[in-house]
Symmetry: C2
Subunit: 341 residues, 2 copies
Amino acid sequence: MMKRSAQPTINDVARIAGVSKKTVSRVINRSPLLNGDTRRRVEEVIANLGYVPNPQARALALRRNFLIALIHDNPNAQMVLNVQQGLLEVLRDTEFELIVHPVDRGSPTMLEKLGQFLERQRPYGVMILPPISENEHLAQLCEQIGCRYVRMGSAPFAEGPHMVASNDREAVRGAVGHLIAAGHRRIALVMGPHGFRSAFERQKGYEEAIEAAGLPLQRTLMVAGDYRFESGMRAAEQLLDLSPPPTAVFSSNDEMAAGVLHVARERGLNVPQDLSIIGFDDTPIAAHIWPPLTTVRWPIATMARAAALKLVGEPGDEEAEASLFVSTLVRRASVAPPGEG
Amino acid sequence: MMKRSAQPTINDVARIAGVSKKTVSRVINRSPLLNGDTRRRVEEVIANLGYVPNPQARALALRRNFLIALIHDNPNAQMVLNVQQGLLEVLRDTEFELIVHPVDRGSPTMLEKLGQFLERQRPYGVMILPPISENEHLAQLCEQIGCRYVRMGSAPFAEGPHMVASNDREAVRGAVGHLIAAGHRRIALVMGPHGFRSAFERQKGYEEAIEAAGLPLQRTLMVAGDYRFESGMRAAEQLLDLSPPPTAVFSSNDEMAAGVLHVARERGLNVPQDLSIIGFDDTPIAAHIWPPLTTVRWPIATMARAAALKLVGEPGDEEAEASLFVSTLVRRASVAPPGEG
DNA sequence: TTGTATGCGTTATCAT
DNA sequence: ATGATAACGCATACAA
């Protein structure tokens, strides 16, 4: 029976500690009914041997893997990465690993495939990113399969244990309020794509700020976009052709804001003197374009950490209780009072 | 024994097909010694039942998981994400899943921890990103443990089956050559951090291009950076204080190039009229700043796909043979002939 | 509080 | 070419 070459198993621990496998198993799984002495003795052997339970065997016996799955579809790259970082900060030094599973929203078999994935892989928990997180069927699927899940979104559309949300509406209200406070009266909105909760919330935030200031809501100042650079350019062209053109624009994300900036520059406009711009996301682009972009930063990594804690944390963890996170306005150089209009 | 509720198992298939478990197993694993009739019959039952082998059980029996691990440390976000996309394109619709495992280069226990990770998780294969991919000990570790691996880098520093490399040196030679062809003679280099192979290769490419043109290699025109925006700014300040200042600068990545652009703008310089700039990476930033940045694009996603194929593909796959990939110069608006010097 | 026997779903060994 | 039986390493039911 010489196979001491590889990892020690639960049998080795049991034999050396002079107890049964089951007792070792109890120590590992923190069973409450266990003699303190026995526990200490076993723990010592475990430490000496450097024993770590075999994840594959555990997964088979428990019918549950020690994996956290990140499910997303087509959000911006920076967000996915920030989420991964936040998740991994919590998962680091735990027995959990992160598995990334993109899906094709729009595919008719998406739910079916995801169901197969969950039933096969049996992850310990899943983190679902927007916009696919808004899909109620997906949440129900997790529920049915009995898989823990946390949804991320721009508004709290689920219960606390299953949700990490930012307050996009409020944040945008603040951002547009900042424009109004600077003296702007003709403020445009570049919207996100139809059907996205984030786009909806940001639009609402804009509308509420405009109305709160007693300003008229003008449809011509609200133009559609799809969160991409090019759509920001198209929106800017449409907006700057207006007479009079807006003196400021709030863009529902940074990438479109960069597009607006691009067009403004092409037309010889000075930002912010001739046109103020505010974006949303605080991507690296925002700080690196010229002028540096005033934008809304949402605490993605913090939200991801909280989500991971909800998924794998001990109950009662304070940090895991939070499920609403506030975004803040990052003031840089793309906002100024309006010029002579 | 009523548990037909869940997934069908290999036993169900065997019973219905009227064969033994082992035979089903042989079908699944494409064993060559198998009667064609039997195979077809079993395959039919498998299809009818929608049977899929349980990954956890396979992992336990095979002592090998059907996971591909992406190991990286602190490279730029865009690269990690592009790699993930490339990898996932190949892994999609296979039995493999992607698991992301960042490491802390510099930590003295890094190798040890990684060893534990590999022995515990037993991934089917690992993809190692630069700069940690340059660590020979890590490669040896994979070798010892018997884990397939592919290293990614800026030069082919390993054998084909274990390497996907770009030709940074040649690409930079071309980029700097482009500057020289435009008439520049005082061309600066913003270097990457010491110890990075990519930084080294890009520097060599610069030097080779300068020397090939019969130009003098001037140390004052070669300034250190660390691949971050701020270091690009510091480099630019140092460079633009020179008299005469350079008429063009090649930056070893886009982020630093954006920093150079930033400082040039602060000093009232026009780009490209007063200063031409070329970057490296073709990150989204490059296309979205003003002026759009001429830069070197390396085919990260393609490299990642090839790596995935090396890891999980059938032997003989042509696409999996490739291990050197060419980067190309993307000409945008940040290069012009030098003004009156 | 602890141990025994058995199951999880697959693959490997060694028969036939 | 196929099958019976034993791993694989851990957890659970039930007994002690």
